[in-house]
């Protein structure tokens, strides 16, 4: 889901950069206001976990690869705004040091994977787990279901961003300028592989870590939770 440089034209990557700047500013404000000191260690842990879990490429035999993102898990632990900043920083490191995801596309990648993905996952998690006891299965079920939906919404957005390029930019001879694949190819490809495989990897990883943390640090799942 890491869109490289060159797949999005300037209007698309520019708009998504412009969208992310106020989102990051708002996230910083929210983190300052609501993140509790005892959850702070989970901010660095969550960012580092997101970085490393994205290195575990999972194959579709004979086809493409994909991976979990861990964004919903981070949001469950520190809230969606802190998760936005944490996953954004993991994406910055991936782009700058490892060329995984573009510089021009960093706004788009952060919008998909660091903002919409964790926020969707978190809202679903809260809807399922609000009021549940710290040891309730509603926590890991909610986090698992939320993470599955979150990563699929992220993939849907990436598919949209890829797929609108041939509509926006093409040469008179029909050649593409940026991503050459239209919506009817990009959307089913991105969404299909995440619905079928990578979404389940995300859900299982998320639920397993939540099960472990419910035992190891149940205070994280007290009523109220992070915002």
């Amino acid at each position: 889901m890491h869109i490289p440089d060159g797949y999005l034209g300037p209007p698309t990557y520019g708009a998504l950069w412009a969208l992310m700047v106020p989102i990051w500013a708002w996230a910083g404000r929210m983190v300052r206001k609501v993140l509790s000191a005892r959850r702070l260690p989970y901010l660095a842990l969550g960012a580092a976990f997101s970085f490393i879990i994205m290195m575990f490429n999972v194959p579709i035999p004979g086809g493409t690869t994909g991976h979990a993102v861990g964004g919903t898990l981070v949001a469950v632990l520190v809230g969606p705004w802190a998760a936005c900043l944490a996953v954004s920083l993991a994406l910055v490191v991936q782009a700058l040091l490892f060329g995984d995801g573009g510089i021009t596309a960093l706004g788009a990648n952060c919008f998909n994977m660091a903002f919409v993905l964790p926020l969707t996952g978190y809202l679903v998690y809260r809807a399922i787990s609000t009021g549940a006891e710290p040891n309730s299965r509603r926590h890991w079920l909610g986090a698992g279901i939320g993470s599955y939906l979150g990563i699929n919404i992220g993939a849907l957005l990436a598919g949209l961003e890829f797929g609108i390029q041939p509509l926006l930019h093409h040469l008179s001879n029909g050649q593409a300028l940026y991503c050459p694949y239209p919506l009817k190819i990009a959307l089913p490809a991105m969404l299909g592989e995440h619905l079928l495989l990578f979404g389940w990897v995300e859900a299982v990883v998320t639920a397993l870590v939540v099960v472990y943390l419910q035992k190891a640090d149940p205070a994280l799942f007290q009523k109220g939770g992070p915002r």
């Binding site: 493409t64 490892f98 040469l171 050459p180 490809a189």
Partner: protein
């Protein structure tokens, strides 16, 4: 041992296991992620490289492209990349935390 310490050790174990993310796709003959092909792959797939894509694709030269260094053992560099990436990410978060807490005076108790 505190939970967060155990989790950092867990991340270390994940770093050591990270080459699985390299070898398992290789074993199953899976290629790049959808939409993350390089110019050469695009050339093979389409018969041409879109002009804008070609122009923007080499905008940035990453020091460890695709978590590897040509000529060195892939799994070793992959593990090294995991360690460097985790350290860099944690450092940036630490910087951010400092910036946010300083403006605030102190973080909120729960």
């Amino acid at each position: 041992m505190s939970t967060t310490k155990k989790l950092w050790i867990g991340l270390g174990v994940l770093a050591l296991l990270s080459p699985l993310g390299l070898f398992i796709p290789e074993h199953f003959k899976a290629g790049a992620a959808w939409g993350e092909w390089g110019a050469e792959e695009i050339q093979t797939m389409l018969g041409y490289v879109p002009e804008g894509l070609n122009r923007l694709a080499n905008l940035w030269k990453a020091p460890l492209p695709d978590y590897g260094i040509e000529g060195l053992p892939a799994s070793l560099v992959y593990i090294l990349s995991a360690v460097i990436g985790v350290a860099a990410t944690a450092f940036l978060v630490w910087l951010l935390g400092k910036a946010l807490v300083r403006k605030n005076g102190e973080a909120h108790p729960e």
